[in-house]
């Protein structure tokens, strides 16, 4: 019995329906010919919750949208409220926000580098990089009191200050990170087996990245020169110089290069903040009640553009708060890069590294994905572990 590609009957008793798959892949033998995203297992109902919590309570909620780039969401959030309140926040606080956001970018990119190493079968890279990352976690804990979820932002500034002693420690760690990342860059470029696993894989053409509104390193690795820190500067980014990193190889290798080079740029930016931190207070007291208005706040998180929209109503709680995390912005692009067309063939084994290359902010390694092969009338569920074994990477 022939089953058409677009109309695969999956009955209510089919076990697949009980699995929270976030992708369904249509395959033709070895090749992926179609991708359907269905992301919802991570949906918690945050935007609704935000309407019944005060602006201060919401800072804690926003931090937990994503545990890897948490400060990105709190920075976007407090800025949004500050925009409506219309008061200047201390310049020192703005520099501090750049410092923490760049340290966060470093930890996030190192985390990703390790995970990507694991995906292509280089577990030693994972262990080395995560060991180096621990130095960054240490200084984040020193500066903010916590390794993850820093609770550093408040409406009106930041909650802690940096001492001269801390400055010294941060500088030392930046030297180490710069050394190690430069070494990894050289070592990776000289490793042919590594290159074959990332070159030409997960291709996203520039025009597709633009049409599909890709963000962050995913877009910049397809030659799109956009970065919120340059296009729409916030905090002290109007004063902290950096090079916008972009490559146009359009594949996984391109995304590796963008993140590695961005990490080195972030090291420079952290040093600049330490050298130029203006004196003064780190916060101002701002009112709890926010006048009726609307506002859009955007920042460049490690994964890409974060955008929040606020509608306030003259009370101490928001009328509506909308959050768009960067990964959602890249889902259409990852579907595109996982679809074979013309000469471009996507093999099942390429799926994990291509997906990892957009640095998705959801934990997908434990999740099953659904495969449908209409020409053989087959359907099956595999975890990523299965796919890696199948591709001979384990």
């Amino acid at each position: 019995m022939a089953i058409s590609t677009f109309d695969v009957p999956v009955g209510p008793q089919h076990p697949a329906l009980k699995e929270p798959v976030n992708f369904t892949f249509t395959v033709d033998g070895e090749h992926v010919v179609g991708v359907r995203p269905r992301i919802g297992y991570n949906h918690r109902g945050i935007e609704k919750a935000a309407e019944s919590r005060t602006y201060i309570q919401n800072i804690y909620l926003m931090e937990r949208i994503c545990g890897i780039c948490s400060v990105a969401h709190t920075t976007t959030y407090v800025q949004n409220v500050e925009y409506v309140l219309g008061k200047e926040i201390p310049r020192r606080a703005e520099f501090y926000r750049v410092l923490i956001n760049e340290l966060n970018r470093i930890h996030s990119h190192l985390l990703w580098l390790g995970v990507a190493g694991h995906e292509i079968g280089f577990d030693t890279l994972f262990m080395y990089v995560w060991r180096d990352r621990e130095h960054v976690m240490d200084i984040l804990e020193m500066l903010t009191g916590n390794r993850v979820n820093y609770a550093i932002n408040t409406i009106g500034g930041v909650r802690r200050d940096i001492t001269p002693e801390m400055v010294g420690k941060v500088r030392k760690v930046m030297e180490v990170v710069e050394q190690r990342v430069t070494y990894y860059r050289k070592a990776a470029a000289a490793e042919p087996t590594l290159l074959t696993r990332v070159k030409g894989i997960g291709v996203l053409k520039t025009e597709d990245a633009l049409k599909l509104c890709a963000v962050g390193p995913t877009a910049r690795a397809s030659g799109v020169k956009s970065d919120v820190r340059a296009d729409d500067p916030y905090a002290a980014y109007d004063e902290v110089p950096f090079n916008l990193v972009s490559y146009d190889l359009c594949d996984v290798l391109s995304r590796v290069l963008v993140r590695v080079d961005e990490t080195l740029e972030s090291v420079k930016m952290v040093k600049h903040c330490l050298d130029h931190m203006p004196a003064g207070p780190v916060r101002v007291k701002l009112p709890r009640v926010v006048p009726a208005a609307e506002s859009v706040s955007r920042i460049e998180a490690p994964r890409g553009e974060v955008i929040h929209y606020l509608r306030s109503n003259g009370t101490d709680k928001p009328e509506r708060y909308k959050v768009r995390a960067p990964t959602l912005g890249n889902i259409p692009s990852v579907c595109e890069m996982l679809t074979s067309k013309g000469d471009y063939a996507v093999r099942i084994g390429d799926i994990p590294i291509a997906l990892a290359s957009i640095d998705p902010c959801f934990s997908c390694t434990d999740r099953a994905v659904l495969f449908i092969d209409p020409s053989r009338g087959k359907e099956w569920l595999w975890t990523f572990e299965h796919i890696r074994k199948y591709a001979g990477r384990v």
Partner: protein
């Protein structure tokens, strides 16, 4: 004194769309908000994307307000964010899709369809995105009438 970027954006759209531009304001540097009539919604977005260079769609916000359901794509280009707002009535919550102008709108419209219940006419596949399959039809959590209820525990802790 030269016009600000934000004022220039407003003026250009006013010139093109006059009456259909119901309200326009620049709230701060690089932020322009405007409300347009439903029939001007797609033409305004088209003009902003194709002629004014607002080719990046950051997301679309859907909101339940006293006036109805407000749909607002947030479009950007280097140096400005333009939010175009359209209001549709509660009794007939439909609006045209902009996925043919900006393919990147595809998931944002699905999300609003799930959570606010607006139908985007012409969308290639308006199916569930973030809500569970078993979630009841017609119940949209971001509508003001919906009161959040946690799922029932299956056992006592």
């Amino acid at each position: 004194m030269s016009k600000s970027t934000e004022q220039a954006i407003i003026d250009e759209l006013r010139t093109q769309f006059s009456q259909e531009l119901l309200e326009a304001k620049a709230t701060r540097n690089r932020r322009v908000f405007m409300e347009v009539s439903p029939q001007a919604y797609k033409p305004v977005v088209d003009y902003a994307v194709r002629t004014m260079g607002f080719t990046h769609l950051s997301t679309i916000t859907g909101l339940d307000s006293a006036k109805g359901f407000e749909i607002m794509p947030h479009l950007s280009r280097s140096g400005a964010v333009l939010t175009v707002k359209v209001t549709v009535p509660r009794e007939d919550p439909t609006v045209e899709t902009i996925t043919d102008l900006i393919p990147g709108a595809i998931l944002y419209e699905r999300e609003i369809h799930d959570l606010v219940g607006v139908v985007f006419r012409g969308h290639p596949g308006l199916e569930r995105l973030v809500l569970h399959e078993g979630w009841p039809e017609g119940v949209h959590p971001l509508r003001k009438e919906y009161k959040a209820v946690q799922p029932e525990p299956l056992r006592k802790a």
